[in-house]
Amino acid sequence: MISLERVSLVYEDHGREVHACREVTLDVQPGEFLGILGPSGSGKSSLLYLMSGLKVPTSGSVHWRGDDLAGMGDEVRAQIRLKEFGFVFQYPYLIGYLTALENVLVALPGEDRVSEAERLLTALGLSEHMRRYPHQLSGGQKQRVCVARALLGSPAAVFADEPTAALDHTSGRGVMGLLNEHRGAGALVVVTHDPVMLEGADRVIEMEDGAIVS
């Protein structure tokens, strides 16, 4: 479904060349739970952003269902992210002036997904908090809203970048469990430095210095 071939990402940081990814070749299968493990700065987040079309590789190619993501225009890539992918980021970003329910609906604008969003929030234990604003929610609750947002519309792939980093261990495991449980038939790609969070993963790859080491 997602295929990376000899993908590299190089960028300049304060005049220094940084190799975030070095010739990575990888396939993600439909419905697969792929864990990407590695220490900070190993390039795992960069790899996730390359896979999801948020970044374009310096060399190599990323294919989504056979089409080269880099060859598409920005707007087409954005459309794929909106319709086919779900995202959970390290920090539980929510829009402050929207309720939890409205924040979930942001994932698919212009579509009537209220009952699906309500169902997801209820399944994630937030039935009492749907009309609350982000400042009225705890960190764990916010991240669960982010999980619901990522799962809305049953995306083909959900990308999670250190989704438990801002949470305590118990909440983190809870969020990971919910993400895995409610992703349906979609693939799940999770980047983390904590192997415990990848319990239940179909495959785990380890990265170091921009390359897959195991």
């Binding site: 920005d74 954005a78 794929i80 909106l82 390290q90 402050g96 970048d161």
Partner: protein, 357 residues
């Protein structure tokens, strides 16, 4: 801030516009006739009258000999001189008719008596009712050797005051007759005015027409309007800079939101469109609200302060409201530039990774 700026500019310009407007309103009676006084030789009046009567290019309805004395009326910028006409009794009804007016309270002045008819607007302006004193022996600017009592009040929008010509002949100097010529059709009056000015140019005559008055009122305020333009221009620049800073702060606070949405799959173009729509609503809404507040306040000022003194104020003066247009335009342009600069180097990954927030 937009609302306050628009309200302030529209309000100030309306009030300043009310000064030349007042001149045109107070002396609007001169639209109805052309007046001529001799200069240097008081015996020239019959000669000039004859010229006008015999050579006028338009049909005349009446030419009347008059006298004049002075009184002061109040305006928002101090007192202004105003003529109290001395009319033949037989001309009074005609004069009232040309002013689209009639005596609604009291009566006409008797010949030779210190009595006057004033318009309702003058009555309000000077606070004079029937029995009030229009001119006094002890007032330099509204002088008459005897107290001139108001015996009649006439309705309508025109400002005027008249006594009998006999009273003025006996009591007011210099001893010079003037005359007023009325075109039969009011539509021809301007033609008559222009012709009289041209015909008597260079002769010992002074011609008074409404066109001259309008011209003088417009030139008199040229410098004032130039100063006003500089002040408003400065105000617009200051407000625009402040708004630009506020918009910049506002957008910076929303960078996280835009980064998140772009990461989720919203296009940069779509987000830009959204911000522009919001900015347009904000700026245009602020402008309209400012205009509405200015309109409301001006009406309040008109009812409470201006109307009781018959001061002119046009609360639907679109030229005054249009002065505030540079405010939303400048703010909109600054907003566009700010939004464009913000979005130009926008990196959603940097936002969601918290490197840029």
């Amino acid at each position: 801030m937009i609302v306050l700026a628009v309200m302030l500019i529209a309000g100030i310009v309306s009030l300043i516009n009310s000064i030349p407007l007042s001149i045109k309103v107070i002396y609007a009676y001169s639209k109805q006739y052309v007046a001529v006084t001799p200069r240097g030789n008081p015996f020239l009046t019959p000669l000039f009258m004859k010229v006008v009567e015999e050579e006028s290019p338009v049909e005349l309805e009446r030419v009347m000999v008059i006298r004049g004395s002075g009184v002061e009326v109040k305006s928002i910028v101090g007192n202004w001189p105003f003529v109290v006409l001395g009319l033949e009794h037989s001309d009074m009804d005609y004069y009232l008719d040309r002013m689209s007016s009639e005596v609604v309270e009291g009566r006409l002045p008797e010949a030779g008596k210190p009595e006057a008819v004033i318009s309702e607007t003058m009555s309000r302006n000077l606070g004079l009712g029937i029995g009030g004193i229009l001119q006094k022996p002890d007032e330099a600017e509204s002088f008459s050797p005897m107290p001139v009592k108001v015996v009649g009040i006439a309705d309508g929008e025109n400002w005027f005051a008249f006594t009998s010509i006999e009273y003025q002949l006996e009591n007011h100097f210099p001893n010079i007759d003037a005359f007023m010529a009325f075109a039969k059709s009011p539509a021809d009056q301007l033609k008559l005015d222009n012709w009289t000015e041209e015909q008597l140019a260079g002769q010992n005559a002074q011609v008074f027409t409404y066109r001259q008055l309008e011209e003088q009122a417009d030139t008199m305020f040229t410098i004032l309007y130039q100063i006003l333009n500089v002040v408003i221009g400065t105000l617009v620049v200051v407000i625009t800079l402040m708004m630009g800073m506020l918009i910049n702060i506002f957008l910076s606070q929303r960078v996280q939101e835009f980064g998140l949405l772009q990461a989720l799959g919203y296009t940069k173009r779509g987000l830009l469109r959204r911000v522009l729509v919001e900015t347009t609503i904000f700026v245009v809404g602020g402008w309209f609200l400012g205009l509405a507040v200015a309109f409301g306040l001006l009406n309040l000022v008109k009812v409470v302060l201006m109307d009781p003194k018959a001061f002119a104020l046009d609360t639907t003066d679109w030229s005054a409201y249009s002065y505030s247009l540079p405010v939303p335009v400048a703010i909109f342009v600054v907003s566009l530039v700010t939004v464009w600069v913000k979005f130009k180097k926008f990196d959603p990954v940097g936002i969601v990774e918290r490197r840029l927030v």
